[in-house]
């Protein structure tokens, strides 16, 4: 279990907690906000949230691990989501994952050593007409082929280097 340094909640999250403190179903909303701020739910933050909202840590992790959306590990600077919805699956989503593994040296739910990329499989992104679809840094790439992957990766690597 990696230990994280980010133990304090940013002000935006704190304000958000105040707004939701007494509302039912607040935990999911707050977790969304935390993931938005950090890109994942750091362990220290989960602990602090448990205290703040008076929710047992056990319950917190039950929820975090139940929803695929929430992440416990810090993703890469350029998170790559490969759509594995029905259309993308049929159009070769699996081949893209295999090619990414060749190019980046990492499988699903892993981060490259330099922290640049992480790869995950997601369910339908909602643009089946563009299948197979890849999302990098929230930018959608449609009709992706194995051959196009190096170019896409290079583009995002450059952007994050700036």
């Amino acid at each position: 279990m990696p230990v994280t340094e980010e133990l304090t909640l940013p002000e935006s999250v704190q304000d958000f907690i105040e707004k939701w403190r007494d509302k039912p179903g607040n935990l999911i909303m707050v977790l969304h906000k935390v993931q938005e701020a950090f890109g994942y739910v750091p362990r220290g933050v989960a602990l602090e949230l448990a205290r703040e909202l008076d929710v047992p840590l056990a319950k917190m992790y039950d929820i975090i691990t139940f929803y695929h959306f929430f992440k416990l590990e810090k993703p890469g600077r350029n998170p790559v989501s490969v759509c594995m919805g029905t259309a993308c699956y049929i159009k070769g989503g699996q081949d893209l994952i295999a090619e990414l593994e060749d190019l980046l040296g990492i499988g699903l739910n892993a981060v490259t050593e330099d922290g640049e990329f992480s790869v995950e499989a997601v369910r339908c992104v909602g643009c089946c007409g563009l299948a197979p679809v890849l999302v990098v840094n929230e930018e959608i790439h449609g009709k992706v082929t194995k051959e196009k992957l190096p170019e896409i990766l290079a583009k995002h690597r450059e952007v994050s280097a700036e």
Binding site: M1, L57, A58, K59, Y61, T65
Partner: protein
Amino acid sequence: MATMVNLQINNIAVSVPEGTNVLDAAATANVRIPKLCYHPDLPAWAACGICVVKIEGSNKLARSCALPVAEGMKVITHDPELQEVRRTVIELILSTHPNSCLTCPRNGTCELQTLAADFGIRDQPYEQIIRDIPADTSTPSIVLNPEKCVACGRCVAVCQGVQDVWALEFIGRGDETRMAPAGDILLGDSPCIKCGQCSAHCPVGAIFEKDDTRVLYDAVLDERKHTVVQIAPAVRVALGEAFGMEPGSIVTGKIYAALRRLGFDTIFDTNFGADLTIMEEGTEFVRRFVEGKGALPLITTCCPSWVDYMEKYYPDMIPHFSTAKSPQMMLAAMTKTYYAKQIKTDPSDIFMASVMPCTSKKYEIVRDENMYSSGCQDIDASITTRELARMIKQAGIDFETLPDETVDEALGIYTGAGTIFGATGGVMEAALRTAYYLVTGVDLPGVEFEAIRGLEGIKRATIDIEGAEVRVAVAHNMLNTKIILEEVKSALAAGKEPRTTS
């Protein structure tokens, strides 16, 4: 009187109180519906699907554990089709369960093993997928082996709903779901209080108590060691059951004899330690109540899990806690100090074992530095009633026919007050009687406990000590403890109770 509901189980008319589930209703018609996840102590969770039944008028199979009875309901609990469904469920569970029955701590007492035997499962039609999750041995008391977990949910339900500890939870989802300590850490780093309720409720070998019998054998074989063993009050009424005797049979004399045959040099009885605890706690109460030195109310327990719970969840209540050690620790300290001097032996050459009713006592012996009062570990190993039963069987001792023997002198004598320690509230009553005697010089007449409606597991009483009203409460299981602690806290905060400190 609860409203009665009439229904038919396999055409047998039964009448059961409203709210009863079909599984329990069937039992009243001498019908046993097989089950795996359901446990009478816990709310039905309908996880396993083995207890399915047919209800006339519905084309769905219903899980009888989670189905309340209804007037006029007609239930079929067994037919070839239902048996086939149940068999499939068992086969599916077995497809994710290791076939290591022979070396499993639950061999012979496993509920899944019993089901597989009853259904005559002879082959495994589904591909076996065993998840490789390492066992967690981070506490001195309990071992988690998630590989064997059948996701019945009992441990989670008892840990959260009954004990209010929240050490265990499911994480992940679908076929990735697994039971794990809070936040997927080691159990020893979690809020676990080592109460052992999870292992007591686990139907399989996924959670079990640590076996320390090997340590005892090694000590007995070590000629330099003077081996001493103590047995707790509850063990004498529980051990007989392991040998097919009537539950509750008192087998004190046979246990002394068996321990001697196992090779222990000296046999003591924890009841003597209990007497010491009572004197300490009674005196402590008098000091706080009469002399006003120390915080009131005084809270006592001999349960290390309770202490752990309080330290973790109610650290502000620590001053209210009795400073007296539990009987096993008091007797151990006496053995390795007073008794060691008597037999002119260095405490490090004494091996002290204890036979206790609970896995929590394994944790208590290494709890903190106070458990090393003789300069070395006061109790070297603590085993449970079940472990002792296994040792007796391994040693070929015919327990039922053993003659009664007596306990050893010096620290083996005891009063009746110690024996009632085994019951919930026993400690409090014994300490209260002692305190009453210390103040008034006469024995306390019977204590009338009033059961609190709707709160099973909490008892209260008021007694009069020389004109002063003393209110006592007794709680069973952690959630009830919490109820009382919260009540005390709010009374203290409202200034209703005297918070005396020296």
